[in-house]
Assembly symmetry: C2
Homo-oligomer: 136 residues x 2
């Protein structure tokens, strides 16, 4: 059902510090660095592999983001979630519910890149999984 | 320097159980499931996004693999490492050493997909990072 890996999200304390490694040491050029108020995060987008490639996203929670701030305190920086692109998020949501997956959203939410749902890690072997229908 | 995300590795207790979610519920078809004795793991390869796409790898440590078994006991199942493809692993290794990154390998090692080095998560904001030069 999912067609590709859209992005891999890495949670960090501070975007600028993280970019000293990902941009300056590794050499990946960010396409955009922006605040996403609806998600209470700042994101640095690091595209790789051309137009069809998957990208890295460095995510810094803003102070008001209680759940991600708690995650950082408890687990520290590191891999946070994996996002797979689907063609039709409503159909994917219905299918996953019917199969008994632990879907965290009753309806798709607006994410930075389109309409998305999250699955609880207990369904997906410990992985916080996002499914995304891109909206151009 | 890295050209694309090669794979995202998910560590699991049991490949067959994990496939009931990733293959049967999500619908991703494994291209291969094999034991890699040199790494003391079994891997299910789940390619996505066509020839240039990035793939998921489900990794089950064999009982003799002390470090991954310890990781599973301590952290549980979930995202384990991120692999980025480079054109020249020797050049990447020298460059990263010169920049002071915490490289875990003095020389590239043979991995399932080619010649690879790992970076300690302390260099890369908590992410265990693999850099891979593919060998066809």
């Amino acid at each position: 059902m999912p067609r590709r890996i859209d992005h891999v999200a890495i949670i960090v304390h501070n975007l600028e510090q993280a970019l000293t490694f990902y941009r300056d040491t590794l050499g990946i050029t960010p396409s955009e660095i922006k605040e996403v108020p609806t998600e209470q995060v700042r994101i640095a987008f690091l595209p790789m592999g051309g137009p069809e490639g998957s990208q890295l996203e460095l995510i810094e929670p803003t102070p008001s983001n209680a759940s991600l701030t708690k995650f950082l305190t408890k687990r520290g920086e590191g891999l946070h979630h994996l996002c797979l692109q689907v063609d039709d998020i409503d159909s994917a949501l219905n299918d996953l519910k019917a199969k008994g997956a632990a879907v965290l959203d009753e309806q798709p939410r607006m994410a930075a890149e389109g309409r998305a749902i999250f699955l609880h890690p207990k369904s997906s072997n410990g992985v916080l999984l996002e499914l995304l229908e891109k909206v151009e």
